[in-house]
């Protein structure tokens, strides 16, 4: 998603928001530390913690039901003409602010590429790596069956 033309930014947005949602406050703070602190921004909705009711489906495919809630923190900022949103699991309000500012910067053609390179791409790679490693560890516990006796009568 690095070299995609800016016209496709809308379709990329859910993907970079997903990467930001899985990051930590420190992951994001690093970028601002390297780039002269937080850019000027206007808070539209201050970071706020609430919940989202997590729905499941009976049998995985059937009737919807409520499994329980999860804590979620959201924040909305405006940078120039761009509105930056963040919604992520957990209760980290600083993380929510940083993620919202980065979402706004990513919509701005002047900053999109730099933030993709400096923040989103490395985080995305690291998140994929963690997932892969978990799967490879689980794969060591996969059962290989050996046929002992074949009951053909």
């Amino acid at each position: 998603m690095l070299d995609t033309p800016l016209t496709d930014m809308n379709s990329l947005r859910p993907r970079w928001m997903a990467v930001l949602a899985r990051s930590t406050q420190d992951d994001l703070k690093h970028y601002f530390d390297q780039n002269g602190g937080l850019p000027d921004h206007h808070i539209m909705k201050a970071a706020e913690t609430g919940t989202v009711m997590v729905e499941g489906r009976a049998g995985g495919t059937g009737q919807r039901f409520n499994t329980g809630e999860a804590t979620v923190t959201r924040c909305v900022v405006r940078l120039g003409s761009h509105m930056g949103f963040s919604y992520a699991l957990g209760r980290d309000k600083n993380h929510a602010l940083y993620a919202a500012i980065l979402d706004a910067l990513l919509q701005d053609p002047a900053h999109h590429h730099a933030v993709m390179v400096a923040v989103i791409k490395p985080l995305q790679e690291r998140q994929a790596q963690v997932r892969l490693e978990r799967s490879r560890k689980a794969a060591t516990t996969k059962v290989e069956f050996f046929t002992l006796v074949r009951g053909d009568g």
């Binding site: 919940t51 729905e55 919807r64 804590t71 699991l89 560890k137 689980a138 060591t140 996969k142």
Partner: protein
Amino acid sequence: MYVAVKGGEAAILATHDLIAEERRGDPALPELSVNQISEQMQLACARVMNEGSLYDKSLAALALKQCQGDGVEAAFLLRAYRTTLPRFGSSLPVDTAQMAIRRRVSAAFKDLPGGQVLGPTYDYTHRLFDFALMAEGGTPSAPVAELPLDAAMPRVPDILGAEGLMEDERPDALDRTPFDLTRDPVEFPADRDVRLQALARGDEGFLLGLAYSVQRGFGGNHPFAGEIRMGEVSVHFIPEELGFAIDLGDITVTECQMINQFQGSKDIPPQFTRGYGFAFGHNERKAMAMAIVDRSLKARDLGEAAHYPAQQEEFVLYHADNVEASGFVEHLKLPHYVDFQGELELLRKIRAEQAALAQQNEAAE
């Protein structure tokens, strides 16, 4: 005679200090951090999240720390905290077929696409103490396979369903918003969505006992563990002001699909029926017990006789919640001085009347 009194404020305040000291234990030992609890007591945290009905690992850990590891009290703390939060909305239904699998086993089918993955489990330990853990256990590291698991790990009932031998689990045409028992009072007969929500937040011990009763014959279904899977699923949510689905991150969940025999009825041909269990975190016992009880509560829908406790939804749903249950049982330790005084007076009066009557009878003889 009853005399109204008030008091105890100083004593109550002193309990706060005393319990704080008790909680800390021996100050010569290092204090537990919340991160230590959330990392090293993960299964306890999972149980608290389920019964507290709120997914937040660090809050579950804090709850356990605050109440010295009392799981029911910890669930209560989570429930109380939840009521202070605004709800932003409901997620899209999580898709467990897309789970990043860490464990997936089937006791019904040996050869599954994707295979049997034992994952992190105590099932194959010998339940012998590992005394090495009495000292510091070091930093174990698990081996890493060259290749990850298959990308596609279809759910077992979905595979069998293709043959038409498995009860279909499909939403009706409306696919309506599920009932929420935290917002509306439960009414009976209760629909499946109500039952599943109540079971998902229900007490693990209560559901385990009910599931056990079903297996022992008080409910008469012989279940097979069709599939148990555990891993991470992403939670998607559409904020009204954005209008498109965004990914909020991953939660760890355990899912159990029980398969049960069914004789068939005049409307339904003989087929396998299903029970469904779903739990936050890694919590197989809860998911399995829930799946068995979900199936037994289908008795009415399937036209089966419902003689046993696990088949009676009003009994199960009204008694599964340990926060409600402990509230009602434990409220008995609060002052009931007036009630008791009333009973005492009544008893004395009856005794006095009986004595007077006996005297009269004696005098008459």
